[in-house]
């Protein structure tokens, strides 16, 4: 007898439908899985056998063949366990129907309990596209899957409970969606904690307002990391569509928190990370840090210490917002629309000026270790002094909090959305050379001053113009004025850095 159950696999961060077919027929007792399964899927055999035994079911003493269709898709991981078990029971004639209309996903433990899976939201979205009405998922994943409407999500704790449900002897409530916080404490760290460093705060605000990538240069302890961590808090909160994307990505990477993630992610990988870790890769392919930072912030501290290979791999995703990885016969595409914040010391010894003995040549060498192609994607450079002594920093009025800054950023983002309606970009940093010239209006006085920009290379000029546009937006000005242009020039890369780029 043959049984069919719908389940889903993850391809990149999206769910794709997979049909589990089980055929049980007389013959020597055996259990084989076909349809391009990897090792993890083949191991399902042991888990299914034990889970059925421990749930009071007899495993058919017949020849059992499991096919995962489409056979062309390579399948990995334990999330097919539950569907296989249900199909085996159905094929054995122990269920009212041999063909199940529901979607079933879950990993089995030997006891028959159901363990959580990755990518519940992506799977639920795929299920809706397929027209599935009811999705049966592990209890831990139910709230996340329930974010998708038009579909009933039911949390199933154990295999036997699931079979009760299918036999009509258990009628549970459908699961309710949940919203969770991405960070460990409410709302993330606040910008008000940063005393002093007004210049760097300004740079951070401009970066947030225009979506510009930022490089901070300064001695250790100057507050670079502290500032970077506060960037997600001053960016506009993600829209629903963005939040769903963020949740999908985290769910697919196994980092989901069981509900909708409504904060922008902040990823700060260590500098020893490989290029596969940074942009994704491996067998089977896994999303990298740039993907985990999708719609959020990727912070690279100690930028010159990162391997050149890793940094250069970042260039393409930063430019295109997606990363395609080809491994063997599979190609997967991950979203990678993150803001980049990088930090480095001013010189190799990283000591403050009086005790630093680095020569200018040492500094130039250090600067040259920064990857040129990556620097090309950075619009804004700001150097920080060492942190003010606590006595000084404690005085004065408290600094502005994240909420105040965020309100300004949101207003400026709105202006940009209007400006770029139909251009396919959302903020100033996204402008290419053509758009830079078409969409940036410069006042006559400022136009007279653009002559000074001639010292910069073509791309350097565009960078300054884009930045000046954001500064003008923060000022509420329709045209870029001289002071905006001046300020933008102040944030541009110093010549030794440019020489490296």
């Amino acid at each position: 007898m043959i049984a069919r159950v719908r389940t889903f696999a993850l391809e990149g961060v999206d769910g794709v439908p997979v049909t589990v077919e089980v055929d049980v027929r007389p013959g020597l007792p055996s259990f084989s899985v076909v349809g391009l399964p990897d090792r993890g899927v083949r191991e399902a055999r042991e888990r299914v056998r034990a889970a059925m035994g421990n749930s009071g079911l007899k495993f058919p003493q017949q020849r059992v063949t499991v096919n995962l269709a489409p056979a062309s898709l390579r399948k990995s991981g334990p999330s097919f366990d539950l569907a296989i078990a249900v199909a085996v029971v159905a094929a054995d004639g122990k269920l009212p129907r041999a063909e199940l209309p529901d979607g079933v996903c879950g990993e089995l433990s030997l006891s028959g309990a159901i363990r959580p899976i990755r990518g519940a939201l992506s799977i639920a979205l795929a299920a809706r596209r397929l027209g599935v009405r009811r999705l049966l998922v592990p209890a831990e994943n139910a709230a996340e899957a329930a974010l998708v409407d038009e579909i009933d999500v039911i949390a199933v704790p154990t295999l036997s409970r699931l079979l009760d449900l299918l036999r009509g002897t258990w009628a549970p409530e459908t699961a309710a969606p949940a919203i969770v916080s991405a960070s460990d404490y409410e709302g993330g760290p606040d910008l008000a904690d940063v005393r002093g460093q007004a210049d760097a705060r300004r740079a951070l605000e401009i970066a947030a307002a225009g979506g510009h990538n930022l490089l901070m240069i300064g001695p250790p302890g100057g507050g670079k990391t502290m500032l970077a961590r506060r960037l997600p808090g001053i960016l506009p909160p993600p829209s629903l569509a963005e939040a769903i994307e963020i949740t999908k990505v985290h769910g697919a990477a196994g980092l989901g928190r069981g509900g909708l993630l409504t904060e922008r992610p902040f990823r700060a990988p260590h500098h020893t990370i490989s290029s596969a870790g940074l942009v994704g890769g491996g067998v089977p392919p896994k999303p990298g840090e740039i993907t985990l930072a999708h719609y959020g912030v990727l912070f690279l501290d100690e930028l010159p210490e990162f391997s050149r290979q890793a940094l250069e791999a970042l260039r393409q995703p930063l430019e295109e917002g997606v990363i395609s990885i080809v491994r063997g016969q599979r190609a997967v595409t991950y979203p990678a629309r993150a803001m980049l914040i990088a930090a480095c010391n001013g010189c190799p010894c990283a000591k403050p000026p009086p005790s630093c003995s680095c020569t200018e040549l040492d500094r130039v060498r250090y600067a040259r270790r920064l990857s040129g192609p990556l620097l090309d994607r950075i619009d804004l450079v700001c150097e920080l002094g060492s942190a003010p002594p606590p006595r000084l920093a404690g005085g004065g009025p408290p600094a502005e909090g994240s909420e105040t800054v965020r309100a300004r950023v949101i207003a400026v983002r709105r202006r940009q959305t209007e400006r770029f309606a139909g251009d396919g970009i959302a903020f100033n940093a996204g402008m290419d050379a053509a758009l830079t010239h078409r969409r940036i209006a410069i006042s006559p006085e400022a136009a007279a001053c653009t002559a000074m920009l001639e010292r910069l290379s073509g791309r350097g000029q565009d960078r300054v113009l884009r930045l000046a546009r954001t500064i003008a937006d923060l000022d509420g000005a329709d045209k870029v004025e001289t002071q905006h242009l001046d300020e933008a020039v102040g944030y541009r890369m110093s010549d030794p850095l440019q020489a490296a780029a």
Partner: protein
Amino acid sequence: MIDACDRCLRRSHLIAFLAADVERLLPPGRAARADVLEAGDDVLLAAVGSARRESAIAYMAGFDPDAARGRLEVAGLHAACAHTHLFPAGLRDLRQPPPVLYASRLDRLIADEDSRAVLIGSRRPSEYGRTVAYRLGRGLGASGVPVVSGLALGIDALAHRGCLDAGGRTVAVLACGVDVAYPRTNRRLYEEIRRDGAVVSEMPPGARPYRWLFPARNRIMAALGRLTIVVEAAERSGTLITADCASELGRDVAAVPGWVTADVAAGTNGLLRSGAGVVTCAQDVLDLLYGVGARSVPEPPEQSLTPVEASVLELVAAGTEIESLRVACGLAPGELRAVLARLELCGLVRRSASGAYVTAA
């Protein structure tokens, strides 16, 4: 402007052809290096191995002086040999003048005979040395004193840069062919010097730099200037070779005093101890060249600085960090950036490799 006799062209191409062999055969130590040039063709040919001798003889037999002149013409380069009136007079004082001096612009070199100052120093200078080098270059450029230097990293590059920034004329003396931008880091500077100043060398176009050619180049620098100023040099610095050459030629030598604790100033302080002139600013150089008070550095064109700009400039000059700077002048962060950018575009401040603002001159 190409005026060089066949014999001199031949000689200079032979040296270029054998440069790699000389590099290989020279004993360690720098004393003997420039002396190689005193050796005649036959001595040179005898010194290299027989295989190289054969090919050198074959090369010289096939050498066509007219074709060489044609190549110079096409490349837009100038050349003069010691037997012509185009040859810079200062070079005739050398024990072994270069057979041919190649230059991007020979006319500019001749125009300011007798007023040039050589400004050289360490390739790994301190921030202090960098500042002084740039200021001197700028001051001399503004005073119409052409600055001769070697296009090396560090002091040389800043001396050239300062002179160019002041609209002055600067001469880069290279150890390789005048069409070879070496070191590559200074490629942009090289282009600017070719455009606004002059690049000269005794090696024919296309010649690659070898270590022994640098001390040889130093003697040309020393001979081109009336005064040699060393900004920063360690105890055993190649820069001191230029100073030695200058004093051998009877030219004045001056040095910038440095910290007694700094290794990079040991050489310059040593020069001062042995009687070199003291240079602390461009005015000192003018006094040494033309006599005290004869000429003075022109006041920098009145920069109409606003009071705010002036006070920011003062604070940058005092070495204030950006955050303390902002607190001290009471500007909003964005305004401060704009002020600094304007000062940078006026050439009053510049940025170090780590991005911090420092005064330019």
